[in-house]
Amino acid sequence: MSELSVNHLLGIKYLKEEDIQLIFETADHFKEVINRPIKKVPSLRDITIANIFFENSTRTKLSFELAQKRLSADVISFSAAQSSVKKGETLIDTVNNILAMKVDMVVMRHSHPGAAYFLSQHVKASIVNAGDGAHEHPTQALLDSYSIRERLGDVAGKKVVIVGDILHSRVALSNIFALQMQGAEVRVCGPKTLIPKYVESLGVKVESNLRQALEWCDVANMLRIQNERLDVTYFPSTREYVQQFGLTQELLNSLNKEIVIMHPGPINRGVEITSEVADGPHSVILDQVENGVAVRMAVIYLLASKIK
């Protein structure tokens, strides 16, 4: 296969397994490109991309922008704080105004689940979902799987546990879809209040004990507590959370095997993960960031090749 089956990247659930493999193979080439003395290729010199972020982001926005620039696309970026959205403009109007300036692709982050899908139905541009509420964050899941593939050779057959705030996490949902599609086994672990009620219907087992979860897994993906999304109290105190679900070096040392540690960032050091673990030899956190650029280059390149 040399072409994606979709024209937009709205979520992992709209992809096929072959799409993921094609993205990874293309990302391998781009990873080589970004390690050259000159890290740029001219493929997308006639493509213009708008990055529209209605929610804060550092890593994802930078990573997308770098990926676009390394492909030689023209890039405009804006965040909602400075835009007319504050003056009452609707999403479709905002985007259509941007598209009237001859933009070919839109990368959007929005706080509402389904915002990217909605946009793809109403505007004429290729849409990339950079996170929609607690729904999906497909490029993060792709780069996570890509990092597992890089470290362990393959994703199929691996056991991955996702630890932390699953309820509010788009990273968790996209990761569950992506990992299962590639034949990995997924479990989640966290306080009962932060585990979605129907997560087992996705074929995901729930672990309430971190040590047991770690004994089982090959890879642990540690998520942050999303304080900005917690409208009520989900657990008694941060201290108690740390005691039960914080990953420490002692805990890692006490396991009788080595596991790969991942984190999508931003890290709350000393809460879900200690500095020692985050900066330790089993952590692939910075590899994830590097791979993020290569994977996003692949996604944008493959989607752009479908724009006629």
Binding site: V33, V41, P42, D46, L71
Partner: protein, 180 residues
């Protein structure tokens, strides 16, 4: 579809030896020369030439790399088929080196044009040359000519030049294929 033999195995071998000798004549010990096979099809020719230089002409320390030009092509989104990338493998800098591009067939010259842009990602070569097994005359879109050529061929646009290699197709030969 009919095909005609342009070069048989023996002719291919004689030409490869001649091209290798011409390279030695110009580059002597290859101390500041690197060979770059253009992906996908130039790879086989480049490997053959490098092997000949090493085994038959005792030129040691040949530096050989492979360059993929997919992301540098000027027909992205313009063709019917999506472009597929191949592996680039250049483990050395080309800064101040003499670069010899190696490709099997020179046709419009657009691949070479893309390769000239692509190679800049690895430094500024002091000189760039082009070696091709087959040079299709009168079909260039750009002012690009080979420095070393195996055989010059007159072929019309409907015709295709097919280069076969022992390691891939089971024989060394060049065919002119006519589509009906």
């Amino acid at each position: 579809m009919s095909q005609k033999v342009l070069l048989n195995s023996k002719e291919v071998h004689i030409i490869l030896h001649r091209l290798a000798c011409q390279l030695i004549e110009k580059h002597l010990d290859f101390s500041s020369t690197v060979l770059i096979g253009l992906q996908p099809r130039g790879k086989y020719l480049a490997e053959r030439i490098a092997q000949l230089l090493r085994d038959e002409y005792q030129v040691n320390d040949i530096r050989l790399g492979f360059l993929d030009i997919t992301f540098f092509r000027d027909d992205f989104r313009r063709g019917d088929k999506p472009l597929e990338a191949n592996k680039t493998q250049i483990d050395f800098l080309v800064e101040d080196q003499k670069v010899v591009f190696i490709d099997d067939v020179l046709y419009t010259g657009r691949s070479i044009n893309a390769a000239l842009t692509a190679i800049q990602s690895f430094g500024r070569p002091s000189e760039v040359e082009l070696l091709t097994l087959i040079d299709r005359r009168f079909s260039r879109h750009l002012p690009i000519q080979p420095d070393y050529r195996g055989r010059q061929v007159d072929a019309i646009n409907q015709e295709k030049v097919k280069v076969c290699w022992m390691e891939n197709e089971g024989e060394d030969a060049v065919y002119l294929v006519t589509q009906h």
